[in-house]
Amino acid sequence: MSETLKSLRFTLLAVVAALFVSAFIIVITDIEALGDGDFGKAFSTLGSAYWGLFKGSFGSLRAISNTITGATPLLLAGLAVSAAFKAGLFNIGATGQMLAGAVTGLFVGFAFQLPAIIHVPFALLASAAGGAAFGAIPGVLKARTGAHEVITTIMLNGIASFTVLWLFKTELFKREGRDDAISKFVEDSAKLPKLFGFMGNRIDLLAHTGFIVGLLATFAFWWLLRKTTLGFEMQATGFNQEAARYAGMRTKSLMVVSMAIAGAFAGLAGGSEVLGLYGYASSSVAGEIGFDAIAVALLGRSTPVGTLVSALLFGALQAGGRQMQVDTDVPIDLIIVLRALIVMFIAAPLLVKAMFRVRGDATSFGQTFRGWGG
């Protein structure tokens, strides 16, 4: 059996195992039905929940559009985490970087009046720059003082969240007549076109060209890793910082640059949400995406294609989960459980092998993150 087929089989088995465990959770928490001894009802809930999950993610054009909409920020923020992992850094700060990118993109989006052909790229560039600048901070702090990026990115997330909360109430950003932290709308010329715009103006198709930006970013990430000296040096530093330094690489500047690149990806995630999906920004624009992005990167083994595939999977689960919550009384939080289980089972081929009594070698993965460094 070829390598690809084998790893595909393990992936599939991992998803099956995750669905199985989640099914168990759905059934045992159906307290009312179980209390009445009505197992049939508990199982029919399970059936309609999983049917809703499928219907909501791939069952129609609208479902597919929702999947893409959900996958877009996860992909871009996932790349932010992956890029840092490649350089041996653990970027927990995608949330903060997304917020920074959302703010700068938003500002360019409403403060300028330009033709769309200039306005859109300008606003996206501003998001990337905002994210990169904010992302570079933990890089600089680590290079200058040695402060660990896990601490600094967590703290910067908190700082960014509350700064944004304040910022959106200031005269510059706040929307007329609103007292809560919600911003003005961006100019129409700065909005990303809808992805399915060519199919007439169906307002239920939310997917936007931010997804194309995500695909381009994925390609750029691949290019960076495979075709550039910088990408090579980033990976060398991530692999063994001491060796990279002895080989003459400037590991400290690389740290800053890697974090800035990561921040730029996350900034684009924030920008594409503002310019493509909402048209404005609120304090919840980053939501849990920065956190989910870590799972996306881990699941995708920090590779460009892996990150893309796992972002699509997570996007599908999210879109399907919403349908599931509407169709049954199973809350969307189940999706978080399902994601956790998929990540776990895919990372543990040895376990899946033992569960399904599969013969043959389990493809084992290397380490994502080489300890805490020194």
Binding site: A147, V150, F162, I336, M344
Partner: protein, 413 residues
């Protein structure tokens, strides 16, 4: 110690650079004193017990401190304070903090002792989470899943305590922590899964399952399954009567005493016992420990389960120690703050507790200062704990060295 002490005169370029940064920081603090702290007139009352208080004139204190800080900065930049430099730094920081409080509370009064009491109480889950992190990482297993352990234990202990009693509830929380730790242990030790991935999977799993249970089970059955009376503070006789410190340290809930004991025991255990030596050995260089006959993986299992139990108590603090119920995502990232505290404290229990206290103090100050009209937007006050931790880590702690083997699975040969 047999190694000769390094003479004070020999300073590396790194140290000289740090000394200069600290000097510049003093100047910056002095500027803040002059520009900000002298703006609000009036006396600030600091209540140090039910009946007594001391007052600081906000403006005067700001002027005096600003001048003193300039003198200190000059001393630091021109001569340096040698061995005393850390003492000077601590004193200056404390005085600056007092001046800040005086400025915020000018013309009013607040319970200083209550604020510090609150600090100690709030540090409990962070400290216990950090101890859990230290126990795992000292034995060579990266533990990102502190947040998940705290959250899951908070949920189950709330249910357990609502259905039975507080003791059993706490026990259920401990069992939950141990169960998640067992997942981490089996996955990372037996199945050799990347430890960061398992850790994050556990976090997501705990967040998902507890939100799911909260929505599907706890909300419909609020009165029976998520409703309890949290524990009362226990006054320790005699000690609680010590003026000022008594109320802060010895008039607290059992969770606070447990966390003190956990820090003391972990410190003693890690540095004074055979178990501690072995634990540190398998976290630094497991091959050597294994060669000398230590069963590396067995000890890792044991320490991880112990870590889970400690985190379990930390999680139970929310429903049983303070709030009286479980809410969705009640831990709100405190497990990650605990992780930061581990690194902050350089994998030492006492250091980690200091980190937890810094964060908790900033939080307690925010809650008190929020009552005064200082002109600072409330968002910046909420931000304070994050900002303070960032400044402390970047400015004073710097690089920290992790246990060398953390993250690597061990295989017997």
């Amino acid at each position: 110690m047999s190694t000769p002490a390094t003479p004070d005169l020999v300073v590396s370029a790194e140290q000289r650079k740090r000394a200069r940064s600290v000097g510049i920081a003093y100047l910056a603090l002095a500027v803040v004193c002059f520009v900000v702290f002298t703006r609000r007139a009036g006396d600030a009352g600091f209540k140090i017990s039910e009946s007594s208080q001391f007052t600081l004139p906000a403006q005067g204190f700001g002027w005096v401190l600003g001048i003193v800080l300039i003198a200190v900065a000059a001393g630091q930049l021109l001569r340096g304070f040698g061995k005393l430099s850390n003492v000077v730094l601590a004193l200056a920081t404390a005085a600056f903090f007092m001046s800040f409080l005086a400025w915020a509370a000018a013309g009013d009064s607040f319970s200083f002792v209550g604020m510090l009491q609150d600090t100690v109480s709030r540090s409990v889950p962070i400290t216990l989470g950090a101890i859990a992190g230290i126990l795992s990482e000292r034995s060579g297993v990266i533990n990102i899943s502190i947040e998940g352990m705290l959250l899951a234990s908070a949920c189950t202990s709330a249910i357990g305590a609502s259905l039975t009693n507080l003791w059993l509830g706490t026990l259920v929380g401990i069992v939950t922590g141990v169960a998640l730790a067992a997942v981490l242990a089996v996955m990372s030790i037996r199945y050799k899964v990347d430890q960061v991935i398992v850790g994050f999977a556990i976090n997501f799993f705990a967040l998902g399952v507890t939100s799911f249970i909260s929505f599907r089970v706890l909300v419909p059955n609020r009165d029976t399954m998520n409703n309890l009376l949290p524990v009362m503070p226990i006054r320790i006789p005699l000690f609680a009567d010590i003026p000022f410190f008594g109320q802060i340290l010895f008039d607290q809930t059992i969770f606070v005493y447990f966390s003190f004991a956990a820090v003391a025991l972990a410190t003693w255990g890690l540095y004074r016992t055979k178990w501690g030596l072995r634990t540190r050995a398998i976290g630094e260089y497991p091959r050597a420990a294994g060669t000398l006959g230590v069963d590396v993986n067995k000890l890792r299992y044991r320490n991880l389960l112990l870590a889970g139990a400690v985190a379990g108590v930390g999680g139970a603090w929310w429903p049983i120690g303070i709030v009286g119920r479980f809410d969705q995502n009640i831990t709100n990232g405190r497990g990650f703050i605990a992780l930061a505290a581990v690194i902050f404290g350089r994998w030492h229990p006492v250091g980690a507790m200091c980190g937890a206290l810094v964060f908790a103090l900033a939080e307690a100050v925010r809650l008190k200062i929020g009552n005064f009209d200082t002109g600072i937007p409330s968002e910046f006050l909420i931000m304070a704990p994050y900002l303070v931790t960032l400044v402390v880590v970047a400015g004073f702690i710097g690089a920290s060295r992790a246990p060398k083997a953390a993250g690597q699975p061990y295989e017997d040969q």
